[in-house]
């Protein structure tokens, strides 16, 4: 027998396993599972790397969601590469993909930058473009962008490590910012928003936080209920809702919903 095989990945950092679902089964992230199957050390916070410095020259970060301290960045002689799903300096921050869809952009992309101490600010190593399709939701587009990024990263890693890639500083004047989305950010006023924007907004908010509006099930009701908007399209300049879900209920077609609550009103 030989000594244990060693992956070229020295360590992975991912979110800790969480009890999910009704049975509260401990669920491990895909990165966690991968690390486990490949005998790669797994950490649940980048801070842990300070005590357990990995034998690595380059770090790669995607969708991490937390600020990385300088002490951690400095553990990697050739820095940490950040995979950010927008054409930086446009859409820095936490929700670049929903922002691009909601704004009706036809083109977006991914930037791979070298991390510095400011969020999404470091010099660009490489970028690629990607068309936004009229059917794209944030989940679908994000998956496509990250799948392509994985390929781009493996191709650029060697030339980057050899110092063959010239980095490009971002133009600060063109920088725009996106924020972490909360449930409230999914609210849309169907009566005041142009149909085409609502349709994009529903796709942009999918699946998190999800687009929603407020309805009264009867005109005399004092309370309003949250109605999740799961799908729509625009026909002759008018918004047609396809799939909706009343708070606490199962998703139904808009037609079914109207039949069930024929006196409903948008609040």
């Amino acid at each position: 027998m030989t000594g244990p095989g060693r992956s070229p990945i020295a360590a992975v950092v991912t979110q800790s396993p969480k009890p999910l679902g009704r049975k509260k089964t401990l669920t491990y992230s895909p990165v966690d599972k991968w690390g486990h199957e490949h005998g790669v050390p797994i950490y649940y916070s980048a801070e842990e790397l300070i005590e357990n410095t990995p034998d690595a020259t380059i770090g790669i970060l995607a969708s991490y969601g937390e600020i990385i301290r300088k002490e951690v960045i400095n553990l990697f002689p050739q820095g940490i590469l950040v995979v950010h799903p927008s054409l930086l300096p446009k859409y820095r921050g936490a929700s670049p993909v929903p922002a691009a869809i909601a704004n009706g952009d036809e083109l977006t992309g991914v930037s791979i930058i070298k991390m510095d101490e400011k969020v999404d600010h470091g010099p660009v190593i490489t970028q690629f473009r990607e068309q936004i399709l009229p059917t794209d939701t944030s989940d679908i587009l994000r998956n496509r962008l990250f799948e392509k990024s994985a390929k781009v990263i493996t191709e650029m890693l060697t030339p980057y490590a050899q110092g063959k890639i010239k980095l490009k500083i971002q133009n600060e004047k063109e920088a725009t910012f996106t924020k972490i989305m909360k449930r409230e950010d999914g609210f849309v006023d169907l009566l005041k928003t142009p149909p085409i924007e609502i349709e994009r907004f529903i796709r942009a908010m999918s699946s998190w936080p999800g687009a929603w509006t407020l309805v009264k099930l009867n005109p005399t009701d004092k309370t309003t209920r949250r109605l999740k908007l799961l799908g729509s399209h625009v026909e002759d300049g008018k918004l047609i809702l396809d799939l909706v879900q009343l708070e606490g209920k199962d998703p139904v077609s808009w037609k079914q919903f109207k039949e069930g609550y024929n006196a409903m009103q948008f609040a």
Partner: protein, 177 residues
């Protein structure tokens, strides 16, 4: 003497090894050869070597893990701690990417029993009963497999695991037919 390690296509690796009846000079020379051969395995690093791997169909193997070194003759498994069936615990038991000197540069994640008790003869023909744990248990089980004509890839296939080929820093999934 350093011997050539046979590769996985050699039929001797598929035979059941014969028990050693007497530790005579021939057997002692064979043990010396096993030691010499294992000591020079640096890429990949060797942690165990069975007699069939140097072309001798006898029930002898070496196990080596840092300061741990054993010559094991005619092993007999007395007790083997089964992998726990509780999925939760099971999943977290670290899988080590196991490899074999007869199948160099191929690795697969194998979850072997965490603990095994073996009765065997040592070089001085003394009967010993010893319990091995963790990575050492894994080495012992891998080498006992060799004496039974079993290779680690057999487990990879039967457990539906992935086999990887490692060339330098390149890792590639291997399709198993």
């Amino acid at each position: 003497m350093i011997r050539k390690i046979v590769l996985s296509n050699d039929p001797i690796l598929r035979k059941k090894a014969k028990p050693v009846s007497k530790i005579d000079k021939k057997v002692k020379d064979l043990i010396k050869d096993l030691k010499d051969t294992l000591s020079v395995q640096k890429n990949p690093e060797g942690v165990g070597l069975a007699a069939p791997q140097i072309g001798k169909n006898l029930s002898i193997f070496l196990a080596k893990d840092r300061d741990f070194e054993r010559v094991i003759i005619n092993p007999e498994i007395l007790k083997i701690q089964k992998n726990t069936t509780k999925e939760k615990v099971d999943k977290r038991k670290k899988e080590i990417l196991e490899g074999c000197l007869s199948i160099p540069f191929y690795y697969g994640p194998l979850k072997r029993a965490p603990k095994v008790t073996v009765k065997y003869l040592d070089e001085s023909e003394k009967t010993i009963t010893e319990t091995f744990e963790g990575f050492r248990a894994q080495i012992i089980l891998h080498e006992i497999d060799h004496l039974e004509g079993v290779l680690f890839i057999d487990h990879i296939i039967s457990e539906g695991k992935t086999l990887y080929k490692v060339e330098g820093d390149e890792w590639e999934e291997v399709e198993l037919l």
